[in-house]
Amino acid sequence: VRWRAVIGSSDMQKLLRSLLRADFDEHAAFLFAGVSRGASTSRLLVREVWPVADGEFIASDRGAYRQVTPRAVVRAVRHAEETDTCVIWAHSHPGSGNHAGFSADDLASNARAHPMLMELTGDKPVGALVFGERAVAGEIWTPDAKPAPLELMRVLGPNLTDWRPTPNGDGLFDDRRARQILLFGEAGQVRLRELTVVIVGVGGGGSVLLQQLVHLGVGTIILIDHDRVSRSNLSRIVGATAADVGRLKVDVAYDHARRIDPDVKVVAIAGDITYVDDAMTVKDADFAFLATDTASARHAYDVVCHQYMIPGIQIGAKATPDADGDVEVHVMNRAVMLGEPCLHCANCIPADELRREQQTAEERRAQAYVDDPGVEEPSVITLNTVAAGMAVTEFMVVATGLAQEPSGHHAYYPLDHELRRRTVLRREKCQYCGTVNQLSSAARGDLWPLQLKPGASPGLSHTTSHAPWWRRLVDWCSRASRG
């Protein structure tokens, strides 16, 4: 299992300010993190940074240069216990530039201290980091495995920035993408290739997101949707034809992506992220798009993104006739980024709508709500395309390091030809994006249960992945024979 760490840019700045000072001396800090365990990659999700005071990072009595006092360690362990987080301790090696690594003394110190720290923190992982000016190396200890090196530390800010032990020298030049490489460079193309991106909902908006991400050359794309293509979808699902009516939208999207570029790995999940098991399939993504319009899906997306520190963008297009017969049309892009207000803070999840969607049909009838599937709002491919194009552009500049400002929320009003930025305030005690509230799920990862419906969405367990055509044919025959 590879280990990564994820940290918000303001916490990273706080950490670097405390570790890398003008005195050119070594300094230390504690980080408190949630954990997300994955089959191939696990992540430490940093919730808090505590600089260690100079008086508590003292000359070592064991031959090393400095050590953290036992009193400071005990205080950190107690805080980790109170907040149900794991402890990472960090120190700096000033002057090591863009190559960071532990000294022999550091490794010996880790070997002495980490088994005890794991025991004191309830067998949670324990990490050690060492920082150079532009690099970080790390060692993650877990009770069930040998110490593992930290692959990278991702900083979530206006851009997604990765810190590594040494610069990533992998080059990749793909001439089919030569023109876009002129914009963001080979390094940007390599970065896109390394990322795993989720699209929740592959209808009108999601299918355009997918098309653009495949053309950009994103390495892995996970699609999740439980819906099937209807005839009225054909006007706006990119890649769908009349022959696709009745098929799962994720299967249609999968086929479309494969036609564009078979080298892009696509995983298609017939699922619903409002259920815990389905939501867990996207928890290790590097970026997530939401392109569905139910309050429950927005709620689930917001919860998962903040609990697992996944940056993302929710897209939507709305054309609503008012009582006078006029139509209000707008396209929304809402960035879900660490340190920025979540969709709950932005009042994008109407409480009553969410409540009604949680109720059984019997409960809705008892409250005299009319379930009328015939009532549909206008939906047009051009609006979806604007929303998706803006969102993928935001993603591209964030992922390749071109962004100058945080993304924020934007609304485009085509009838007025206006693009407006919306200001949203964060609720200090927010249960999803805040860390003040004791019951906040932000950055807790697997150490906190997802507040979603338990289990998997009923009757949905179908997954299509990057498999050769003959394997998919065998799978299809097998499913067909089971009825």
Binding site: H299, I349, L354, R355, A366, Q367, Q431, P454
Partner: protein, 124 residues
């Protein structure tokens, strides 16, 4: 395993109704059915004491607690009250108490909301 946010809400109801038995049952969709036993009401209500229930959804507090339920046959002054409806939920006949107002989780708790429901019923 019940979600800690829902457990905290149930604990809050117990704190808000000392001296009353409070039961809590987990439902398959992750929600919790909470009942406060033997709440005395004001004159005019029949019966004069009820078991007040609410289903706390898994998305609480983002989705507000609503509606509230008592056993079937609850009446006010022997007649109809607009806030009361006879319903059947999961095979059980109940009286649905429809008191809907915006719920702000920053300033309100589940226990506080149920105290407000009791206050409304006692002030009729």
């Amino acid at each position: 395993m019940r979600h800690p946010v829902l457990q905290a809400a149930v604990d809050d109801v117990r704190d808000a109704f000392p001296g009353h038995e409070v039961t809590d049952d987990d439902l398959s969709d992750g929600s919790v059915w909470v009942t406060i036993k033997d709440l005395r009401l004001s004159d005019g209500w029949s019966p004069s004491a009820i078991d007040l229930s609410v289903k706390v959804p898994i998305t609480f507090p983002s989705s507000p607690p609503y509606p509230y339920y008592a056993a079937a046959g609850l009446t006010w002054n022997g007649g109809q009250c607009p806030a009361l409806q006879s319903v059947e939920i999961e095979g059980t006949k109940r009286t649905q108490i429809s008191l809907l107002k915006p719920y702000d989780p920053d300033v309100e708790t589940l226990g506080g909301r149920l105290v407000a429901v009791r206050h409304w019923m006692r002030s009729q």
